[in-house]
Symmetry: C2
Subunit: 185 residues, 2 copies
């Protein structure tokens, strides 16, 4: 029974996070209330508050879950291609881009959110840097990820961006390094 309960709790939690992510991507953090999240999940207010004590907690949890994860055995090139593809035009890419871009915007004025984003970005940068050889791996990873942040912002505002060129150019940033790299873990 405890195992079933844990799995059940976890599924509910993910259900709430998913509904909140969708609403945040569509309307923004400020325009989404806990009542909207309750309505979208079909759960009672009490049930939602059992998982997240405040909207702020929910925003923090969505930020943690929205952050990119690299697959264990991906090379730098494959990892980068996956990150870019997650932002490619289409409903999913747009929703992801809008969520990510809002997270940066909120983090710019919310110190607790800034701490979460800093930690996640450092994690992602280091995971990425481990896939790149050479002494400048960390710095290269930082610049490449910054370009992706800017790319997400362009996708989020539906700018007429040249996606293939973007992909190619970001890849070429990595190129001089990946040529000499082994696939790290």
């Amino acid at each position: 029974l405890p195992k079933v309960t844990a799995a059940y709790l976890d599924a509910r939690r993910r259900e709430i996070l998913s509904a909140a992510s969708t609403l945040f991507a569509e309307r923004g953090f400020a325009q989404t209330s806990m009542a909207d999240v309750c309505a979208a999940t079909g759960l009672s207010t009490g049930a939602v508050y059992r998982y997240f004590a405040s909207k702020n907690d929910l925003v923090l949890a969505v930020c943690k879950s929205a952050h990119a994860q690299l697959s264990e055995d991906d090379s730098a090139g494959t990892a980068l291609a996956e990150l870019i593809t997650s932002l490619f035009p289409g409903p999913d890419g747009l929703a992801h881009a809008r969520l990510v871009t809002q997270i940066w915007g909120e983090a710019a004025v919310d110190p607790s959110l800034a701490a979460v984003v800093r930690a996640r970005q450092t994690e992602l940068r280091d995971a990425f840097a481990r896939r790149i050889a050479g002494p400048a791996a960390r710095q290269t990873a930082e610049v490449v990820l910054a370009t992706l942040t800017g790319y997400a912002a362009l996708v989020a505002i539906e700018a007429p961006v040249d996606h293939d060129t973007f992909h190619r150019t970001i890849m070429s940033l990595l190129d001089p390094v990946t040529v000499s790299s082994t696939v790290g873990s």
Copy 2:
């Protein structure tokens, strides 16, 4: 008299914009009220509303004024160095980065703001591209500016970013092109 009045009106308008920019950078759009802006300027509510009919109008005006302008006769390298320097660590760079990053975040979920940011970004990209020679000038400008957007986001959340490396790497993105470029206008 009409000239004096126009200059006076313009000075007042800029005074309100400047106070609003400072508050927005410190607390964020959502946490700043029109009353805060009135208090910061020392103007009456009526006076502020004469210039900006709503907080939304004020946000739009701040977004328009916050956007980078390139100096007429700057080369691509100089223009890029100026844009990077405006985001360098320190109180001014931090305030600018927080404002810019919030603007992108808000634009991600506000169509009228997205239209303003799209137009400004296209303007900046084209102004930048004119300073770069070659058929890929527009695309290079787009990628370089995206990297700057990501850099601003890192500065805004006070991430421990390696600023000199960033500067150097962004410059090198431009390098193969600027070598063969003439300074456009």
